[in-house]
Symmetry: C2
Subunit: 177 residues, 2 copies
């Protein structure tokens, strides 16, 4: 009886990169993404600037006479609530060493950050526009009134810069998941 000899050809095996993390985990170390220390710092910064803007605004007794100033106060309340909620989620993830790379969760972060950042920028720009209008164009600014409104607009703008960074990190995380 003839025995068949199976032909065995050596083939080139692609390297397995056992020492490197798989590519879908590379975002984990990106500082600023949700669930990292950088992400928590961004949230705390957003909350801090937003609460300063809110405080400066409500300290002015006549802010409610201008629609856009009331809108800034409302936007800052929303910004504070959103940022402190996300800061708590980040803190929980850091303490329990959990990952926030769930698609649904990151999708909610992206939508929430996008909406909040748009509202904050809109409120900051409307406030800044009206302050410049009253101060430069009408010349009817009370003593140190406009400086305080400008300070509130600047704080809201700084808060927007930080939430925009959070939005970009979350969106990047969602795109590369």
């Amino acid at each position: 009886m003839e025995r068949s000899h199976p032909a065995v050809h050596p083939v080139a095996v692609p390297p397995q990169f056992d020492n490197q993390p798989p590519p879908n985990l590379r975002m984990k170390d990106l500082p600023g993404s949700p669930g990292t220390l950088g992400g928590l710092a961004l949230r705390v910064g957003q909350f801090g600037f937003a609460i300063i803007a809110f405080g400066v605004m409500v300290a002015m007794t006549d802010f409610s006479t201008v629609t856009a100033f009331c809108y800034l106060v409302a936007a800052m309340v929303l910004q504070c609530l959103w940022s402190i909620s996300l800061a708590m989620i980040d803190l929980y993830a850091l303490l329990t060493r959990r990952s926030l790379r769930n698609s649904l969760l990151v999708g909610i972060f992206v939508v929430g950050d996008g909406v909040t950042s748009t509202l904050t920028l809109a409120a900051a720009c409307a406030t800044a526009g009206i302050t410049v209008f009253i101060d430069n164009d009408l010349g009817k600014c009370g003593p140190s009134h406009c400086a305080k409104y400008e300070a509130a607009a600047a704080m809201a703008f700084l808060s927007w810069v930080l939430i925009q960074l959070s939005f970009l990190f979350s969106f990047y995380l969602l795109a590369t998941r």
Copy 2:
């Protein structure tokens, strides 16, 4: 003389997926990304809304008395120039069937779209805020004046929606390249 027989072990070879496109080409068909018909339509829409906002604004003789209205005109000029330039690049890419998936090129699109969309939203919000301030809070709006300013702000806002979409598509393309 003893001849050495090299030991050959058959190994499992990972499948090559010859029939599937490589993952870095999956974005090519996403409508709205640079170099596609959807991307071109977004650019034309941005340009159209921006030029209408510009036209409505400069048709008002007294727009230059308000700083924010001058800023809206400047922002709309920048928006028109950026959108028409990108529309031409998209058209060139479509006609010559070239891909715009070059990292440097998409990076420039992302930065340009981000800056232009921020300036456009800021100008639209400042204009809207001042119009509401003059109309509702001061009650000093000339006949059909505020309606035209509101129309310009609305057109600028629609232009922002479209450029924001372009920005998100370009950023997604950059993140998944």
